[in-house]
């Protein structure tokens, strides 16, 4: 089992950071999304066993988050958001060191450190001092230290920060490959929604300490909106005003395409009916793919 949280509540003094989180995640890659202050970090802290929830219960990798924190951390890999290293070390020593701290025997940790450094693309520079590493290399190093002990669950916090497009593509492919292993679960917290779309099939969106949306990405796209692209001829101002009243959200693109987000209960016919009444000629009406950005915006209530 991966992660199971039931009615988790946590507050920092009077500020309610988490308010009844219920999630059950198993296998594959899961995206954890939410605006700043949504409770993502607090949730990760609770899952890693750093904070005890005020209320609720949960298990990570079948260990209790309240009483078996050390056991959780032994089997979890964590890649933090910001740069972190120990000056004076080279990459092999650094990676082996954290492998050893996770419980690997010394010789094994060193051997495995070489392997994972090659795997993340730092093989040639593994004996270089970490102070001389570029931002992108440090990002790869963080991934190496997170996977050195072959964790069952990998927490990745903004894994593509500071990476150039090619580096980002490579890291995403590595993560995708790791998450494709049946026995490794990956939980990614990121603000870069295309990254989440690339890797994850399941997302949890937090907002104000609550789960705003969760589920298979494909289902969320379907369930949240029906997005259509329209090209019209005529003066569209009144038409747009009327379809907004019907509950549609409309965006105009630079190339004069109208992106219309229709609420689930509204029928397409209503759009055509309104167009007829407003003497607007609909020249294109295409069902469009709802992006994760759209789902996210809907879930957290922003445009």
């Amino acid at each position: 089992m991966g992660i199971e949280l039931k009615d988790i509540r946590f507050s920092y003094g009077k500020v309610q950071a988490l308010d009844g989180i219920d999630i059950r995640l198993e296998g594959g890659a899961v995206g954890l999304l939410g605006p700043n202050g949504a409770g993502k970090s607090t949730l990760l802290k609770i899952m890693l066993g750093f904070l005890r929830p005020d209320q609720g219960e949960g298990r990570v990798l079948d260990y209790d988050i309240r009483t078996e924190q050390t056991l959780i951390r032994r089997r979890v890999g964590y890649m933090p958001e910001n740069d972190c290293f120990i000056p004076g070390m080279d990459a092999v020593t650094f990676t082996a060191y954290f492998g050893e701290l996770s419980g690997m025997p010394r010789q094994e940790a060193m051997k495995r450190a070489h392997d994972v450094l090659f795997y993340v693309g730092l093989g040639e520079s593994r004996y270089r001092q970490l102070e001389t590493y570029s931002a992108g290399m440090k990002q790869r190093l963080k991934l190496a230290q997170a996977i050195v002990h072959d964790p069952k669950l990998l927490f990745l916090d903004e894994p593509t920060n500071n990476l150039d497009p090619q580096g980002r593509k490579e890291i995403l492919e590595l993560i995708l490959e790791i998450s494709s292993k049946k026995d490794i679960q990956v939980l990614i917290s990121s603000h870069i929604l295309p990254d989440i779309e690339f890797i994850c099939s399941y997302v949890v969106i937090l907002n104000k300490g609550r789960v705003a949306a969760k589920g298979e990405l494909a289902n969320l796209r379907e369930a949240s909106f029906r997005l259509f692209e329209l090209k019209v001829k005529g003066e569209p101002a009144r038409f747009l005003e009327r379809i907004r009243v019907l509950g549609c959200k409309v965006e105009e693109t630079e190339d004069m395409i109208l992106k219309v987000y229709m609420p689930p209960q509204l029928e397409r016919k209503a759009i055509f009916q309104t167009a007829v009444e407003e003497r607007i000629q609909v020249r294109q009406f295409l069902k469009s793919r709802t992006s994760l950005e759209d789902v996210f915006a809907k879930a957290v209530g922003v445009d």
Binding site: S41, L44, K45, L48, F50, L51, T70, L71, R73, R74, R75, V76, Y78, P80, E81, N82, D83, C84, F85, I86, P87, G88, M89, T93, Y97, F98, E100, L101, S102, G103, M104, P105, R106, E108, R112, D115, F118, Y119, G121, G123, Q145, I147, H149, D150, D157, L174, E177, I178, K181, D183
Partner: protein, 289 residues
């Protein structure tokens, strides 16, 4: 086939549940300290007094051979508790211990705060106590090499050179005094160094602070003592307090007319304050910003 092309492969070993999970921290810390050439130099310089005193023990036993050559030396070279106090609470050794702490300990936590490494430690099966133990053990290792190890070697050498156990019969408690005072000095400097190392992210700043507080406390004592001639001002000085307690441990006259209990209380209070500051500065939940 290149590893990157082989894809992700599992590690087929078993993760150990260590009884001393802090040991890798200590081992790595010692290795990193010895990578610094200034540290290596200081470390060997700090061993000089030990060699000097060892020569002194040899000379004291063979004094008959030297007596005709150097007059008056017999009064200086007497291996007794005062000899041990002179080594352990001597200005030079205390200063060199401070230098060792500056060069090996100033960055122990500061560097990791600066480079956000704490979150990596605490994402492992390590508690805050393990982390501190690992860091403190680095300092304990170096301090022990200039305190308890030479102290016990002195006793053994004295017995070997004299060819009898009379020294131990005269001072049966000397071994315990060596261990006890070494433990106190080591514990004090370890707490002091770790605390100072945790107050800033800048290694240079913490190094200066380590040095400055030690020296300033002694200067302050000097100024007040010169002005008011009150020995209780010795309690302001870290060095004077260590020397007072050292004198008590080796059962010799204290340098200042103040009870050593007060000095011990000052040192223990400083240790407690250091532990409190460390606890506040290094947070186990710093794993995710």
């Amino acid at each position: 086939m290149p590893i990157a092309e082989r894809g992700y492969i599992h590690w087929d070993g078993e993760l150990l549940e260590r009884r001393r999970p802090w040991l890798p921290i200590t081992r790595q810390g010692i290795r990193l300290a010895f990578k610094r050439k200034y540290f290596k130099f200081s470390f060997f310089v700090s061993l000089v007094p030990a060699f000097g005193f060892l020569v002194g023990i040899y000379a004291a036993e063979k004094i008959q051979d030297f007596k005709l050559k150097i007059e008056g030396v017999s009064t200086i070279l007497q291996v007794n508790p005062g000899f041990f106090r002179a080594y352990f609470a001597g200005d030079f050794l205390l200063f060199m211990m401070l230098m060792l702490m500056v060069l090996s300990g100033a960055g122990l936590i500061a560097d990791e705060l600066r480079h956000n490494a704490l979150q990596l430690y605490f994402a492992r099966p390590l508690t805050k106590k393990d982390y501190f133990m690992g860091k403190a053990a680095i300092l304990v290792f170096f301090l022990s090499l200039v305190t308890v190890v030479p102290g016990l070697v002195f006793i053994i050498c004295k017995l070997i050179f004299s060819g009898s156990f009379r020294f131990l019969a005269d001072y049966p408690w000397i071994g315990l005094s060596v261990i006890g005072f070494s433990a106190l000095v080591t514990a004090f400097f370890s707490f002091y160094t770790l605390m100072i190392s945790s107050v800033s992210k800048n290694r240079r700043y913490t190094a200066i602070l380590l040095f400055a507080i030690y020296i300033f406390s002694d200067v302050l004592f000097g100024i007040f003592y010169a002005s008011f001639r009150n020995p209780y001002f010795a309690l302001l000085s870290i060095k004077a307090n260590l020397q007072q307690v050292g004198a008590a441990f080796f059962n010799v006259k204290a340098p200042y007319a103040v009870s050593w209990i007060y000095s011990l209380a000052v040192l223990l209070t400083l240790c407690a304050v250091s532990a409190f500051i460390l606890h506040k500065r290094v947070k186990g939940v710093e794993v995710i910003k």
